[in-house]
């Protein structure tokens, strides 16, 4: 059943896939619903796998009493229908799925990334305003730039311009401190 966002009253078919906004018959709010065929698609129940009948057939690695359906694309272990997880056209077992998520080898399982280029850039800019701490932060930022230069940043298209900008700022800061210290010791 389709309900209004605001008042949860059921909406009729006249509201669905309209070019213009329609009024909810209950609260009068203007609403628009775009429905797609997936709404009416039957979601089939998962299978638990066939029971192994003869000893000649291969059995699942995790369920010795179940028949093999497919092998894991990562580790090659035999899997029954229950253990098989399909992702991006590949068949994986649960441990490989967990390992792939943890090691970030499965791109479509990634839901979080640290933006090291932003961290170095904002730290470098911040240390410009608080110049007295740049003596400490500049080498740290420089280390981070080299350490995370090749590390994956965002999964979206992104250039290295932030790393370059923070590198320039940091080099200027280090140069400034070096000049200051040299002039101090030179008298």
């Amino acid at each position: 059943m389709i309900t209004c966002i605001k008042c949860m009253a059921p909406l009729g078919a006249e509201v669905v896939n309209n070019a213009e906004l329609s009024q909810c018959p209950s609260c009068g709010v203007l609403t628009k619903v775009d429905l797609f065929p997936a709404m009416f698609k039957e979601i089939s129940a998962g299978t638990i796998g066939e029971t192994l009948i003869t000893d000649n057939d291969a059995s699942c690695f995790y369920h010795p009493q179940k028949k093999v359906e497919v092998s894991c694309s990562e580790c090659g272990r035999f899997l029954c229908a229950l253990c098989d997880v399909e992702l991006d056209g590949k068949h994986l077992c649960i441990p490989c799925l967990q390992a792939g998520k943890k090691k970030k080898t499965l791109k479509n399982m990634e839901n979080h990334r640290a933006l090291y280029d932003n961290i170095t850039l904002y730290s470098a800019i911040g240390s410009v305003f608080f110049w007295f701490i740049s003596f400490l932060t500049a080498p740290i930022i420089l280390f981070m730039i080299f350490r995370y230069w090749k590390a994956p940043t965002s999964i979206l298209p992104r250039t290295k311009v932030r790393f370059l900008a923070s590198f320039i700022i940091t080099i200027i800061q280090i140069g400034g401190w070096s000049f200051f210290l040299l002039s101090l010791f030179a008298g």
Binding site: K6, P10, N17, L35, N111
Partner: protein
Amino acid sequence: MAKKQQKYKRLPGKKRGLFGYNTLWLGPDHMLAVVDRVFSEDYKRFYYRDIQAVTIRKIENFKIVAIILAAVSSLFVLFTFFFKEPWSIFFGVMSGVCFFGLIIYLIAGPSCECYIKTAVQIEKLPSLFRLKTYEKAMNLLRPKIEEAQGTMPVETIRENISRILKENSEAKPRRRPVRPKQARHENGVWHKTSFSMLLFSGLIYSTGFFYNNVSLSAFGSIISVLISITLIIALIKQNNSDIAKNVRLLTWATFGYFCIDFVLSNIIYLIIFFKNIDNSEIINNHFLMMKMVLEMSPAESPFVMGCYIFSIVSTWSLGISGLVSLKKPKSSSAGISSSSGESVLASGN
């Protein structure tokens, strides 16, 4: 370094928050919702084959915000002509900023809330918060979804929905549906009175800004007391009633304004008290103290000027917004509207 392939294409719309922003991207087989938190990003994927529905609700505050911006801009223009430099420059700049903001707001158009539904979740898409942006984004997203799911004629979709509605109405409910509490009808008389008197109070403040007079200030204080009484009655009356949510919020905002006004008035009283602390004749005579408070002109102190400006802007914007909101046709539902968006669509099966 090898050039990274452009895998994602950005959809129109960007919702900026305090510490980041929300965007949507079209991938090869899914739509990616990105929450950028400055130092990290969070991702959510909606596969095209799984998207069941996208729904929007228009938010009815477009006119109110436009009126407030126009009112504030006009006030600053007025002040620009009545004040000398440097205040005229300051008010001129503020009126320009408000006017520019109004133009941008009018061009951007009405705002909305957008939700996407799959079999397992209903998620808000914060970046699609303008109707125009939603239309542009859907024009890019719809072909991708149709490519993954195929197309179904609109008549077939509507027939399926009607069939499901009929089946659900005939079938016994599995659990007792949550029904909104039956709301009492309220004609909004006390709200209208409060907002109208608030506008009148705004007029008195505006007059007092240029022509300071004890009687006028005293009259303004009496009006404020009367507004406080009608406001409290309105707040009591709107409880469990069918008064629109906008009007309720504006009534509470007016109450908040009066609380702040009360605090500011007492601060002015204390300023005068400490200025005349050596003069026991004045500080022991409450009537004289009141007279001194009422006699205070905005030109005497920046703090008093700030209080006047705050009062003028608040009374006019709240008064006009309240009366405009009350003029809107009331809903036919007797239920209290829910602000929850998570139950927007239930499974059709």
